[in-house]
Amino acid sequence: MVFQQIFDGLTLGMVYALIAVGYSLVFGILRLINFSHGSVYAFGAHIALVVVVSMQWGVIWGLCISIIVTGLLGVAIDKLSLEPLRKKGSKPISALITTIGVSYIIQNLLMILLGSQSKWFPKLFDYGRLHIFGRIGISYTQLGIFLVSVILLLFLTVVIQRTKIGLAMRAVEQNPKAAHLMGIDVNRVVSFTFFLGGASAAIAGTLISGYYQVVYFNMGFIAGLKAFSAAVLGGIGVLYGSVIGGLVVGLSESFAASYLGGGYRDAIAFLILIIVLILKPNGLFGKKAVEKV
């Protein structure tokens, strides 16, 4: 049974990792905690829901359309609310409060426009279950999530490390002014980053909905916070850290649920968050930011 719990925890962890990657991406480039990411994830899931269930166009279309629309939402959030703050040179806390406000707006609009009841979503990779060692059951859907997370991670890493735009992103992260002076259009890079963040949220939303088969308007709130804990644990800004952090949070949650009872399950992620913040705010793999006086 312990092995099954471990595996459940790992799957749960991959779910959080998928979402956490979005936080890391934006923080890595902008040093901004994008609190709205959770609601964007819920938004992505709902777009996929509309395309796949209401319009019956199939999962592939659902995923593609969701990626584009949600990515654009990410860009819109930046352009409308965050870019003006950057221009004004506001304190980082202003951006955080703004993203909190945005998350509230998106989440509640989803509820008002699409209804508060839970909705059904078809299962992805529905090919049945594998059995390892005779006793541990793994469904192909879980394998699918695992695979997609890894592919997404690799894809993002390649983009950042090997492409021109990735180079621009790294430059902006190091020093926006210098990057600007070198001829990089900083705003375009930031928009692209937000697009990627939104797209990854869409992928996460579609996949996870296809696993649990439920879509509901506040699915982004708790999952988003837990994924945020995962990102912080792994070192926010470091992509592979999000995956590791996600796995740790997932495993902890699985064991907490089994041994402490379902009620304390959500609390574990928050506990991890606070402990990490107090003991090692940069997380496991994070880089220390040098604050110049």
Binding site: K91, L96, G101, I105, N108, L109, I112, I274
Partner: protein, 344 residues
């Protein structure tokens, strides 16, 4: 053009006059208080009194948040957690030991203050956004403990049958306007208290921390001490709010003080103006009353709270009443004014 100028002109004269002569200001406030006292006597509906009571309660909560956010510059989105601690402490003391409101409220406030202190200490090393996230985590953990720690808090069943406050054997009820007077009495006391803090050495220290913590440290201000103190006092006030709620609604459960409440409080503070006391009254009045007045908007109210956060931060981060005060700056005693031929 002309009309706006006229209004500007009248307003400027009116406000300047008030600022110049403290007597006028006090008279205006005194009249205001008198008016507030008379309202229930003049036959206002119990619903209207109730809205005013809730405005009072949220003014208290906004004042509490304002101390650490507006004056000390530490944004907290976990105030609901302190309210919950105050409320549960009060409720448990009342239901299990029959203690009266004034005692339970005191205990609730102190308990909340204790947790404010405990939360303040370790999190003070955190900077801006990280501190805020930690406060969020705190609020949620309080809620989860309330939900799961059945033996103490009765879990999801909550605590019911909390008794109304008794003053010399006289029960305060909604019908006799008791809660209305109580909450506004609390508001006045807390406002005076905060006013005193803001004008004191502590207040200046807090504002220095808000404006530039590094410089404040270099100037010799013991920032840690002041930050923890601000956190604790803020928690105490939030706890008072929570206790009041428990005795008024007489039933609380873990979901009563959730993240939505924390968001509402910070929206009030940001709308009214961080770092201003009068802004809290206005913010609370606006945000609590509008769902009642504009019924069609009440379904959208969380969207509106979110919009307020986004729009205010974008266009007027100092809030409606924030920014440079138009009152004359009163120098503390013992400070000598410089010579007239201008030292910079």
């Amino acid at each position: 053009m002309n009309k706006t100028n006229i209004i500007k002109g009248i307003s400027a004269k009116f406000i300047d006059k008030i600022n110049e002569k403290p007597i006028l200001r006090l008279t205006l406030i005194g009249l205001g208080i008198l008016w507030m006292i008379m309202i229930p006597r003049l036959g206002a509906s119990s619903f209207f009194i109730r809205v005013l009571t809730m405005i009072g309660l949220y003014t208290i909560l906004a004042l509490s948040l304002n101390l650490i956010t507006g004056y000390t510059g530490q944004v907290s989105i976990g105030q609901a957690g302190f309210c919950a601690i105050g409320a549960y402490t009060s409720a448990l003391l009342n239901v299990n030991f029959g203690l009266n409101y004034f005692i339970t409220s005191l205990c609730g406030a102190l308990m909340a203050g204790l947790f404010g202190f405990l939360l303040g200490l370790p999190t003070l090393r955190l900077s801006g956004p990280y501190l805020t996230i930690a406060t969020l985590g705190f609020g949620e953990i309080v809620r989860m403990i309330a939900l799961n720690f059945d033996k103490l808090t009765n879990g999801p069943l909550g605590i019911s049958g909390i008794q109304r406050p008794l003053i010399f054997g006289f029960q305060l009820t909604a019908l006799n306007g008791g809660f209305y007077y109580l909450v506004w009495a609390l508001v006045i006391l807390i406002t005076l208290f905060l006013y005193a803090i803001v004008r004191s050495k502590m207040g200046r220290a807090l504002m220095a921390i808000r404006d530039d913590e590094l410089v404040a440290t270099l100037m010799g201000i013991k920032t840690t001490r002041y930050k923890v103190a601000a956190f604790s006092i803020s928690a105490v006030i939030a706890g008072i709010g929570g206790s009041f709620y428990a005795h008024m609604i007489r039933y609380i459960d873990p979901n009563t003080f959730n993240f939505d409440i924390s968001i509402l409080i910070i929206s009030i503070v940001i709308l009214g103006g961080m770092g201003t006391i009068r802004g809290m009254f206005v913010g609370a009045a606006l945000l609590i009353s509008f769902p009642e007045i504009l019924r069609f908007a009440s379904a959208y109210r969380f969207v509106i709270y979110g919009l307020i956060l986004v729009i205010m931060i974008r266009f007027r981060p100092q809030g409606l009443f924030g920014g440079q005060s138009s009152a004359k700056y009163v120098l503390p005693k013992g400070v000598k004014v410089g010579a007239k031929d201008g030292i910079a």
